[in-house]
Symmetry: C2
C-alpha cells in the first residue's frame, strides 16, 4: 500500500514553489521581463569558466574508468583531502581527510548530520526565521524540530526563549548563517554566547549537543565583512556546506559535512555518515561533481551582483518606510509586511506582478522574503513598481 504519510504531503504544496510556478505562468502571459519574480533562491550568475574548463579537460583526458568509477562511500579520497586542506587554510582548524564526508549538497549534509546525532524522538532546536526544508530533513529522520521565535530587531538569537526550550532531549541545534531568509550573519558575539550555553548544557545533561551549521551562503557576504565561522567557537560542530551558491552549481548536488576535529568521536563521524548513506541509498555525489569542485576549491562565481542588488533594495525599502534588517550576506532580504497578514500583503503585491514570499513558512508571521538573485536591471525596474504598490495599497500608513 502507498505510504499515507508521504501521500498526504501532496496536499501541502510548497508556498515558494507555487509562487514560482505562478510567476512562470504569468510570465508566459505578459512576458517574463515584466514579472518581478523574487520567489526562488536560484543563483543568477554562471559558474566559473575554470570549473567548466576543468570538467572538459577531465572528460577529454582522464581515463573514463577513473572519472566515472565508484567513489568510496565517504567520497573520493583526494577530493576530501582537497576540501580539508582548503578549510584548514581558511579557518585555521586542523581538518584532515577523515573529517570530510562528501554529500549531495547541503540538503543531504543536513539529512545525514541529523541522523548521525539523533535517534527517533530526540529534539533538534533551530531559530526562526528558518529554511522550511528543515522540517522534512529533521522529521523524516524521526527527530522533533523545535523552533525558537525570531528576535526581529536584528534576527540574531533570542536567548531567553532558547534557554527555556533547552532540555535533556535536545541532541542538536541547527543554525544557518548567513541566514535564509533574513540575510543576517550571526555575529561573533552570538556564536560565542551560543557556544557558552551549549557547553554549559552539555555538562548539565551529561551528553553532547551537536551544532549543525548550515552554510551554503558562507561565501556571499557583503561590505567586506568576514562571516564568523561557527566551528571556531564550538567543538561539537558539524559544518554542512554546498557549492550550489558559491559556484552556482545547484543542479550538480555537491557539498560536504566537515566534522570539527575537536568534536567527540571526530575520527569516526564521517565513517558513520557512510553507514547512514547506505540506508538512504544516495551513496556519494556524482564523481564528475566531486572532481570538478576539487579543481576550483577556493574559487567562487562573481557574486558581486548580489551586493549591488542588496544595496538597491535595502535603500528602496527603507525609503518606502519598511522596517527591515540590513542583510550581511546571502541573496535574501526579509522586511516586515505592511499589514499583519503577510499572505494578504503578498497577494496584493501579486497584482503589481511583484512576487514576494510570505514569511509564515519561515516560522515568523508578518514578514516577507525577497530573493534578489535576479538581474540588477530588473531590480531597478521593480523599485517604482514597489513604490506604486505601497502607495496605492497602503495610502494611510
Amino acid at each position: 500500500m502507498i505510504n499515507e504519510t508521504y501521500k498526504r504531503r501532496l496536499e501541502a504544496k510548497s508556498v515558494i514553489r507555487e509562487l514560482s510556478e505562478y510567476a512562470t505562468s504569468r510570465g508566459q502571459e505578459i512576458g517574463y521581463e515584466n514579472v518581478f519574480d523574487y520567489s526562488l533562491g536560484n543563483p543568477s550568475v554562471p559558474c566559473t569558466e575554470d570549473f567548466t574548463n576543468s570538467v572538459i579537460e577531465m572528460y577529454e583526458h582522464m581515463d573514463p574508468m577513473d572519472l566515472h568509477g565508484y567513489s568510496p562511500s565517504l567520497g573520493n579520497t583526494s577530493v576530501r583531502e582537497i576540501v580539508a586542506d582548503s578549510l584548514k587554510r581558511r579557518f585555521d582548524i586542523p581538518y584532515e581527510t577523515k573529517h570530510i564526508f562528501m554529500t549531495s549538497g547541503a540538503a543531504s549534509a543536513i539529512a545525514h548530520a541529523v541522523r548521525l546525532v539523533t535517534k527517533p524522538g530526540d529534539e533538534v532546536i533551530t531559530f526562526a526565521p528558518f529554511f522550511p526544508e528543515y522540517m522534512p530533513y529533521i522529521g523524516d529522520a524521526g527527530a522533533v524540530l523545535k523552533v525558537v521565535p525570531a528576535r526581529t530587531e536584528d534576527f540574531q538569537i533570542q536567548e531567553e526563549a532558547f534557554l527555556e526550550m533547552l532540555n535533556p532531549n535536545v541532541q542538536a541545534v541547527l543554525i544557518n548563517t548567513p541566514n535564509n531568509p533574513s540575510g543576517v550573519v550571526y555575529s561573533e558575539k552570538t556564536l560565542k554566547r551560543l557556544a557558552e550555553i551549549l557547553n554549559q548544557k552539555q555538562e548539565e545533561y551529561g551528553h553532547e549537543i551537536f551544532l549543525i551549521s548550515d552554510e551554503p551562503y558562507r561565501e556571499i557576504a557583503f561590505d567586506g565583512v568576514e562571516v564568523p565561522y561557527p566551528a571556531r567557537y564550538y567543538d561539537n560542530t558539524l559544518t554542512c556546506y554546498s557549492f550550489s551558491k558559491s559556484l552556482s552549481l545547484p543542479g550538480e548536488r555537491i557539498g560536504y559535512i566537515a566534522v570539527n576535529p575537536k568534536a567527540v568521536d571526530a575520527d569516526i563521524l564521517a565513517v558513520i555518515c557512510g553507514q547512514i548513506s547506505r540506508g538512504i541509498g544516495h551513496n556519494c555525489p556524482s564523481s564528475t561533481s566531486q572532481l570538478g569542485i576539487a579543481k576550483v576549491i577556493d574559487e567562487t562565481s562573481d557574486l558581486s551582483v548580489y551586493e549591488t542588488n542588496r544595496n538597491l533594495l535595502y535603500d528602496a525599502l527603507t525609503e518606502l518606510g519598511f522596517e527591515v534588517v540590513r542583510p550581511g550576506g546571502t541573496f535574501y532580504i526579509f522586511p516586515k509586511a505592511l499589514e499583519e497578514d503577510a499572505v494578504a500583503f503578498c497577494n496584493k503585491a501579486k497584482k503589481y506582478d511583484l512576487i514576494l514570499v510570505p514569511s509564515d513558512n519561515f516560522g515568523v508571521p508578518g514578514y516577507f522574503r525577497m530573493a534578489y538573485c535576479i538581474d540588477t536591471e530588473k531590480v531597478k525596474r521593480s523599485i517604482p513598481v514597489l513604490k506604486k504598490f505601497v502607495e496605492t495599497e497602503y495610502p494611510n500608513r
Copy 2:
C-alpha cells in the same frame, strides 16, 4: 549523542569490501596483475565515446545556468520524457513523463520505492541469493526484510517457501533479474507465476502488493536472449534502474524509477517519491548526469567482454567439477563451494591469490561469487590457478 544504531554498523564491515581491500594491499605486495580479484562488481569497460562527447558539447555550448540549474524535484522534465519514450519503445508499455522519477542510481531508486509502498513494520520479501545492500535499503525505511530460501538447482523462485512466507503484512516483493550474485535471468514462466501469485494475494488481502524490480543488469544478457521485463507481467511494478553497468557510470549515480502506468495511483507515485526525497535530502541526481544519459539513452558500453568471460569461467568451472548454474546475464557467476563452509573455501583460495566472495552474505550458505568484470586475459590466466587450487586443496573429491 551519536546514533548508536549507525555506530554499531561499523563493527560489521562489508565482506566484499574487506576482500577488495585485501586484494588491493596484496596487489601492492606482488603486483596487481598477479592478484585474481573477483571481488567487486565494478564495470571493466569504459562509457561510450558518445556519452563523453555529449557532455563536453554541453559544457562547451550550453548556458551554464541551464546546465547546472536546479532540476525539478522529480528530475529534469525533458530527461524524464526521453526515458519514458525509450522504455515505451522497447517494452511496449505506455510510459509517460509522469511515470518517471530520476534517482541517484538503483540504490536510491530502491530506497525511495520501499518508502513509497511500505510503512514502518511492513514486510518486504526478497529471494535468495540477493544483494546484501537490500538490508539497509529496507531496514532503514523501517520495513522488515524476509528472505525466501534459494532454489539452488536453477536460482529461479522457490514457490512453496514463497507461498508460506506471504501474509497480509507483506506490502512489497523485491526481485533482481538478471541477478546479482547468481547471474540468472528470471524466466517468463517464473515472472508469470509470480504475477499470478501476487494478483491472487492482493485480492485475498485487500491491498496492493508492489513488485520492486531491481534491474541494473538489464542490458547485460548473454546468448542473444532477451531479458523478460517484469513490468510486462504485473501491473503494480516499480522498475528500478541504474546506468552504472549499462553505460559504465557507477560514480555518476544516475538511474530512475519507472512506475507501470497500470499500477494503482500510477499518476501520483513519482510525485510522492519527490516528497520522500525531501526528507532523505538527496533532491535529484546531478544535472550533468541526467542530461548526459538522456543524450545516449539507447546506447550501452561494449558489454561483450562479460559474455566472453562468462564462457571461459563457466567452462573451466564445470570442467573442474563445480556445480554451477550457467549465468544468463550480469558479470557474476555463483558456483557451489567444494566444502560446506564457504568462508573456509574462500580463505583457502586466497592462498592462491584468487579473491572469491563467500555466499553467506547473499543469503545462501556454501556458495561463492566471482565478479568477472575484469580483463579477459586475466580470466584466462586465472584458470590454471583455479585448477591448481582445487587439485591441491581438494584432492580427494
